[in-house]
């Protein structure tokens, strides 16, 4: 997707000036940021819908800055990620944040309403910061084992799979297909690497509108596994891994339906129990 390499309608400008003689702020900032970035050894690279900051790496030549007053979308995103990393020094930049911010920025900066497009950067940054507040523990290595960290999420996922489809769960165990091999990525970047962007937006719509949104994420992951259970039960380790890492279904609606169905079944089971089952567990 070349969207992010195209020029934005609204390059950053110095506040209060509209005469063309002033240097566009983007150009000025670009110079500053390039220098900062080199010093702090964190650089962004763009790709089709994603970027990557990494220690010591050099900016790929194919992502040259656009000339003069123009600014590419990826530069806007780079600036936001840079700022986020600077504002959160304990966390800094972790690969995968690009996958979180990308769909948000895309949504705002392609809105039909010009006002939205104009303020896309600020709005995206606001939303990104808020979303990260909910999911950032998954990006922090030393929180892996905490209750909000990625390992416990993966364990919950496998527990839910066992409840919903024990045969499939057992098969994955037999093959020694560890949840880290596939669901680490699923959970960390909210499935944004598994589907094409339009599907991701659709999926996130459902995710964000759910009051227990990140529980729904787990339901969705279980649904994804169950929907391909026949193939999974059939394959050896290599076939299973390839399926899980290149998820074959692109119809997000089908997955969401299954996820909601799974959720209902769990809720119904809970209701059938006489008392509050959650409080009964030791």
């Amino acid at each position: 997707m070349c969207f992010f390499q195209r020029s934005t309608e609204f390059p950053l400008r110095t506040a209060g000036s509209d005469d063309g003689t002033k240097m566009v702020a983007a150009e000025y900032l670009r110079r500053r940021i390039d220098q900062c970035v080199l010093k702090s050894n964190a650089i962004v690279k763009n790709r089709s819908g994603g970027w990557n900051i990494s220690g010591g790496a050099k900016r790929a030549t194919q992502y040259l800055n656009l000339s003069g007053t123009e600014e590419a979308h990826w530069e806007v995103v780079e600036r936001m990620l840079f700022l986020y990393a600077k504002l959160n020094p304990g966390q800094s930049y972790v690969q995968g944040m690009n996958e979180i911010i990308g769909p948000l920025y895309f949504t705002f900066s392609t809105d039909k309403d010009k006002t939205y497009r104009e303020h896309a950067e600020a709005d995206t940054f606001f939303c990104f910061t808020n979303l990260m507040a909910e999911i950032r523990d998954r990006f922090i290595k030393h929180l892996d084992d905490s209750s909000s960290g990625i390992i416990s999420s993966m364990n919950r996922l496998m527990g839910m799979l066992k409840e919903a489809d024990e045969v499939l769960w057992k098969r994955l165990m037999e093959l020694d297909v560890k949840p880290q091999y596939f669901s680490f990525r699923w959970l960390m970047v909210l499935l944004s690497q598994e589907f094409a962007l339009p599907e991701v937006l659709h999926l996130w719509d459902a995710l964000f509108s759910d009051a227990h949104r990140f529980d729904l994420l787990l339901d969705i992951c279980v649904a994804m596994l169950i929907l391909i259970r026949d193939q999974l039960l059939d394959g050896d380790f290599a076939a299973t891994m390839k399926l899980l890492q290149n998820y074959p279904i692109s119809d997000v609606d089908q997955i969401l339906c299954k996820a909601v169905q799974l959720r209902r079944r769990v809720l119904d089971n809970l209701e059938q129990l006489p008392e509050h089952p959650l409080e009964l567990t030791p």
Binding site: Q62, I140, K141, Q180, Y181, F182, M241, K242
Partner: protein, 216 residues
């Protein structure tokens, strides 16, 4: 079980793991090798990607299971689940980036500590297409590789230079290592010799057990 063991070539299932700093080109190397593709664009790896490749060396068939891991520090803790039980490791650095070479040294230390000498090591300096910006000298890298018993290669995934050789050489060494281990096993247990009666020993060929075979 088939009695035609004499005719069937020995099949090896090897697990290979790629390790190294982020952005050195691990994914590009594997994609070049497995699919002969190069993507100018960059997609950072999260967790690790799994790929397979079949090759034949002499009369040996080799199935490679390749784990292409994420390089960034955040993913370091995931390393062990990928390199455990590996027959070979490809440690990659970027010739323009000395830090990435230091990172290779750290990986070598970790692998030696965790896996001893069972794992065959290959060190790769990638991005030789950027020779002008080189920051890690060939001599330094070769000396270091030799000192830790690793082979050293220089590659360009972009220009498809040296990539095939890396996997061929590593596969050859993994076969040698497997032969050595088999010989040791036979020497240790005379009973297995009597049952095999000098015939080809089909240690890894039983097709009924693909699950527990060498891979993962």
């Amino acid at each position: 079980m088939a009695a035609s063991a004499v005719a069937s070539p020995r099949v090896h299932d090897f697990k290979v793991v790629l390790l190294g700093e982020g952005c050195v080109g691990k994914t590009s190397l594997v994609l070049r090798y497995v699919e002969n593709k190069f993507n100018e664009k960059h997609e950072s790896t999260l967790q690790a990607s799994f790929l397979t490749k079949k090759l034949t060396i002499g009369n040996r068939r080799v199935n490679l299971s390749i784990w292409d891991t994420a390089g960034q520090e955040r993913f370091h803790a995931l390393g062990p689940i990928y390199y455990r039980d590996s027959n070979g490791a490809i440690l990659t650095y970027d010739i323009t980036d000395d830090d990435s070479f230091q990172k290779v040294k750290n990986w070598v230390k970790e692998l030696k500590k965790m896996l001893g000498t069972d794992i065959m090591l290959t060190i790769i300096g990638n991005k030789t297409d950027l020779e002008k910006q080189r920051n890690v000298s060939v001599e330094t890298a070769e000396q270091y590789a030799e000192s830790v018993g690793a082979t050293h290669f220089q590659t360009s995934a972009k220009l498809n230079r040296g990539v095939e050789e890396v996997f061929l050489d590593l596969s050859r060494r993994m076969i040698e290592q497997a032969d050595k281990q088999d010989a040791e096993k036979r020497a240790l247990s005379p009973s297995s010799r009597s049952t095999a009666a000098g015939n080809v020993v089909l240690l890894e060929e039983t097709p009924a057990a693909p699950i527990k075979s060498g891979c993962c």
